[in-house]
């Protein structure tokens, strides 16, 4: 692969953006493994991208933005002259719209007066959450968390001090599938001599009972991550929905 062509076609950017097909990607890799200029370019680019991810993730956490879960492809807007548009507009005629509006108002009123206050009360009321200590990196486990279906819980992840400036915690379900990944800024650590502890609040979700694994990775600013340890705990579901 010609170096001039690589620069002209912005191959490094295409590579980092995942735009190259398999053959072009392989060809470019063979080039930059032997071309010091491109190797530096790719390394700097990859380092920038990886570090940006971490910083933008921190910003997103502050702003309450989360990585989106996969969703169905959005439907394309239909052309304005589609036949069903006229039918849809007909729904705004008073004979149809007034009862619908009344029903909607009733729903909104119920939510505002009954549902939301209850949710707010539940959120603002202190309560004891199920929890488990997970000793990351040591053999065994044995900790059990017993929750009601859909309930959240706390995990206290303990790891030996490893010197990494930041970490990422990942929760794998009993099927070995990644449930979530959470960057942990260094400021969130409770540091004791020789040991760090991370309190992690696991949000409520429909979960299966079984052995869950928490994996903690250390992140360098170079974008490299290395597993520093893992620990497991057993999640048990109980059906005592009436106890408070």
């Amino acid at each position: 692969m010609d170096h001039e062509l690589v620069a002209r076609q912005r191959m490094t950017e295409r590579y980092l953006l995942g735009e190259l097909d398999a053959d072009a990607r392989q060809e470019f890799e063979e080039h930059f493994f032997d071309c010091p200029d491109c190797a530096v370019d790719v390394r700097a680019g990859a380092l920038f991208v990886e570090q940006s991810k971490v910083l933008l993730a921190d910003e997103s956490q502050l702003a309450g933005v989360s990585r989106p879960v996969p969703t169905l492809v959005r439907a394309k807007p239909a052309p304005a002259n589609a036949p069903w548009v006229a039918a849809l507009l007909g729904m705004f005629k008073p004979a149809f719209a007034v009862p619908v509006m009344a029903a909607l108002l009733a729903v909104v009123g119920y939510q505002n007066l009954v549902t939301y206050p209850q949710l707010k009360l539940a959120l603002n009321s202190p309560r004891v959450l199920p929890f488990a200590f997970v000793n990351v990196g040591s053999w065994g486990g044995g900790q059990v968390v017993s929750i009601r279906p859909g309930e959240g819980f706390l995990l206290f992840a303990r790891i030996s001090a490893d010197g990494y400036p930041r970490h990422v915690a990942e929760l794998y379900n009993p099927a070995g599938k990644l449930e979530w990944s959470l960057p942990i800024p260094s400021s969130e650590r409770d540091t004791s001599p020789g040991q760090d502890q991370y309190p992690l609040q696991v949000p409520g979700a429909r979960r299966e009972a079984g052995i869950y694994t928490l994996v903690v990775r250390g992140l360098t600013a170079a974008g490299e991550s290395k597993e520093v340890g893992r620990g497991s705990f057993e999640l048990q579901l109980r059906n005592d929905t009436n106890d408070k």
Binding site: D41, V49, E227
Partner: protein, 204 residues
């Protein structure tokens, strides 16, 4: 900018177990291998396995005198990496643990105080570059890299095309690279003053 050449003397130092040469080799090619593997393997453990196996096989080949063109060291490393990757695909899951792992010693990548300081510096530089971007460009990067949204959709939403995305990344990368290399130059000068002559990234 250029890399001080991989030559016979560099190979000799590697073969002789020169710590700085081995450390340099592991860091330089280890990073390139990791970048290559990221788009092919999902699990960090698998990436680490293939990377370590590639480096281990390289050192075996070096010991056995099978590297005949020192100036084509990169080609040699990537061909080993491709073989290891193919074997990994064939096995279908994680490679079995290597029985003779303990006999294959190449420098471990520890996290020492210096690398932590370097990490902080890198973070600071990237933050500076991100801070200089417009709000729109930051959002574009966030949606592409952090939220991993479909790039065509992101471009449509922000009224830009794919080339804009490439140029945006190119400019940010170039800014970062100039800061990155400036530091490397300073490190190299310090090393020279200290009498260390291992190859480093340099700018011309």
């Amino acid at each position: 900018m250029q890399f001080q050449s991989f030559d016979q003397s560099y190979l000799d130092r590697l073969r002789a177990g020169d710590f700085r040469a081995q450390e340099h080799f592991g860091a330089y090619f280890g990073a390139l291998i990791q970048i290559k593997l990221r788009s092919r393997l999902k699990s960090p453990e698998a990436i680490e396995d293939v990377r370590q196996e590639t480096l281990a096989r390289f050192f075996v080949a070096l010991r056995d005198g099978r590297i005949l063109q020192p100036e084509r060291l990169g080609s040699f490393v990537i061909s080993i990496c491709n073989h290891v990757l193919l074997e990994h695909y064939r096995v279908g899951s994680r490679l079995d643990s290597l029985d003779d792992d303990q006999q294959r010693d190449f420098p471990a990548k520890g996290t020492d105080l210096l690398s932590l300081l370097a990490a902080k510096e890198t973070e600071k530089k990237v933050r500076e570059i991100l801070d200089q971007l417009s709000e729109r460009d930051r959002r574009v990067l966030r949606e592409v890299f952090f939220e991993e949204r479909d790039k065509d959709e992101v471009c449509r939403n922000f009224g830009v095309d794919r080339d804009y995305l490439r140029v945006l990344l190119h400019r940010a990368k170039q800014s970062f690279k100039s800061l990155y290399l400036k530091d490397k130059d300073q490190d190299r000068d310090k090393n020279k003053n200290l009498g260390n002559d291992a190859p480093e990234l340099t700018s011309t």
